[in-house]
């Protein structure tokens, strides 16, 4: 070997592995928040690397809104089986049935905001003291100030003004009973880094990320997939388009883009010329300028 420096992707990988090993050492009962999206897939892969040849010492936790893409659930179940991990599911439907939350009404009703209650309930009932997420600082302005180790109080809430300073690579995960941490190992990755990494590592990802034919409806400047949960407005039509998704959320709020990219290589090329942010197709972020900050304060992902 002639060079003694890492390229940027190796350095990001090494940083994330370091963070995941700190989680294992500093917490009793950590879980990986697994959505089936590319970021949580990358985090799970990094956890494999961090503890190889041992098994990942965390369970996966999925907040099931009941409005999932069927492909996402299939992907999740296959992954769990392959890695031999335990899956914890928090069900939004159950939270609704138990009267913990009420379903939103109207045309733009989603279950996005309801997830927070289910997530916090699942964290509490499973005595989770650390939830590892795939959040990235480049995603959104409220996330630009997020720590690697992000402290949550008794109520699971985030107080941006009262975060612990984080210096060098020394992480302070000390907490009291009932509190928990959110940890973000890929904080410093951008969307492009994630795609370059998925291509380099040849990771398997849900088919939804690749261009495919789908029935869609044009709403809020993007192609929303048609599903049983969608109520059509009089002026809306179902069309057939070749699309793919840049992010995966609920089937009711995740907009697709028209695309021909049906291989990882083509996706990487497409993302590198993209002129819109990936969350631009998420109607949950369009509700207000501080939509993400407000949800984060309440305990959202």
């Amino acid at each position: 070997m002639s060079k003694y420096y890492l390229n940027y992707l190796d350095e990001l990988e090494s940083e994330a592995i370091f963070v995941l090993r700190e989680v294992c050492a500093q917490f009793q009962n950590p879980v990986i928040l697994f959505s089936g999206g590319k970021d949580s897939i990358v985090v799970t892969h990094l956890a494999r690397k961090a503890f190889y040849p041992a098994k990942i010492p965390f369970s996966l936790m999925h907040v099931d809104t009941g409005h999932n893409f069927p492909e996402t659930i299939q992907f999740r179940d296959d992954l769990i089986k392959n890695l031999g991990l335990n899956l914890i599911v928090g069900s939004v439907q159950e939270s609704i049935d138990e009267g913990r939350v009420a379903e939103e009404k109207g045309k733009s009703a989603t279950r996005n905001a309801l997830q927070t209650t289910t997530l916090l309930d699942a964290i509490e009932s499973n005595k989770v003291d650390c939830a590892i997420g795939g959040g990235r600082r480049d995603e959104e302005k409220a996330r630009a100030k997020e720590r690697f180790f992000s402290h949550r109080d008794d109520f699971g809430q985030w107080d941006p003004k009262n975060q612990r300073p984080e210096l060098w690579n020394i992480f302070n995960g000390k907490h009291f009973e009932g509190e928990h941490f959110r940890v973000f190992p890929i904080s410093n990755w951008t969307e492009m880094d994630v795609w370059n990494y998925i291509e380099r590592e040849n990771l398997s990802i849900p088919s939804l990320y690749f261009a495919h034919e789908r029935q869609v409806v044009w709403r809020n400047d993007s192609w929303i997939p048609y599903s049983e949960f969608l109520t059509l407005e009089p002026d809306e039509n179902i069309e057939n388009k070749k699309i793919r998704f840049r992010t995966l959320g609920d089937i009711t709020i995740t907009g697709g883009i028209e695309s021909e990219a049906d291989t990882l290589k083509k996706i990487v090329d497409e993302v590198s010329t993209m002129r819109q942010t990936e969350r631009g197709n998420r109607t949950d972020d369009k509700r207000s300028e501080t939509a993400m900050e407000d949800r984060k304060r309440q305990g959202y992902f």
Binding site: D10, F18, P165, L167, N172, E293
Partner: protein, 417 residues
Amino acid sequence: MIDNNQLLRFTTAGSVDDGKSTLIGRLLYDSKSIFEDQLEAIEKTSKKKGHEGVDLALFTDGLRDEREQGITIDVAYRYFTTPKRKFIIADTPGHVEYTRNMVTGASTANAAIILVDARHGVIEQTRRHAFIASLLQIPHILVCINKMDLVNYSEDAYNKVIDQFEEFSSKLLVKDVRFIPISALEGDNVVNRSTNMEWYQGAPLLHTLETVHISSDVNKIDARFPVQTVLRPQNDSHRDYRGYAGRVASGVLRTGDEVTVLPSGFTSKIKSIDTFDGALEEAFAPMSISISLEDDIDVSRGNMIVRSNNKPEVVQDIEVMLCWLNKTSSKPREKYTIYHTSNSETAMIKELIYKIDMKTLERNTNDDTLNMNDICKVKIRTTKPLMIDSYRENRTTGSIILVNDSTNETVAAGMIV
């Protein structure tokens, strides 16, 4: 994307008046790192506020409280990539009361951008920024003399700032300082070379960031491997494997190396260096690996594996330059948990030797209270030995934080002298 592209982390210190937000906005905008929907949102806000054109500073707008009060509360991280490198900006507010944020941003930086208003020259704040950059041992300092458009792009104004800066910086420990005349607002010498300053022979800011030599920023001499956790798979293919997982803090480790485990002092040889992607012959900082040893000796989290012919100091008394980060003040004799690499022990601040007056940068020996944003030299005693190097030699094994056990908050950050 070229395989050898490196990651450069830099910090920008300065207040709104220095044009810091405009500079970051300019870097992101001119390097085409801003998306159309972000641009549209900024254009809308600029218009609402009655600005002419696009106010680049709005790109770095953060949380609601900050927007309402027009200030920056916290360190924000921003990202951009050029065909040569990936960049992480730690965007920190520069007021005197935010010393703690500057220290935070500086702790991981390869380079610091210090902004100077060409009209005002070096001011108290410039000296403070340079002092913190040198205290945190940021390897490269780029002094950007901004608003050159407001002094008619005058070479004299530029030279005056260099003279002022060198007058006081000769007393600081900085290795690499460069001076770049820019106009963030007009874009001169930020990404593109300025045509208004033919007298300037150096490179524009972005080119400097893309080419400055950073491979040597990490110590590659002293092999230090703090153990984070022990891997014991106990599965069929790895029945007896015992791997010590961690990130190489500095130096290079090779299979067959004679090593010592600290603090126990047991010696052994490196049997293998393992990763998910296969075994390696050698590993260097900052790689995350796991190590197995020839001998079955007791190794656990908090231990450090080092080459037997090059060891750190193993001590319980350390002198530290401490930055106090918490609203609750402290005095000597208070106890805390000290975090150092993968170790944590109980520690006591034994003595406050002096405090730096952040206005004059002079030492003050008549005050023994540690208040938020203070920088002090202190003596600390720990209940068990730590394996340390001086911060000047090693930013990883030379740094500590203090945690208050009754609140669990991180209250101080320190650099071992």
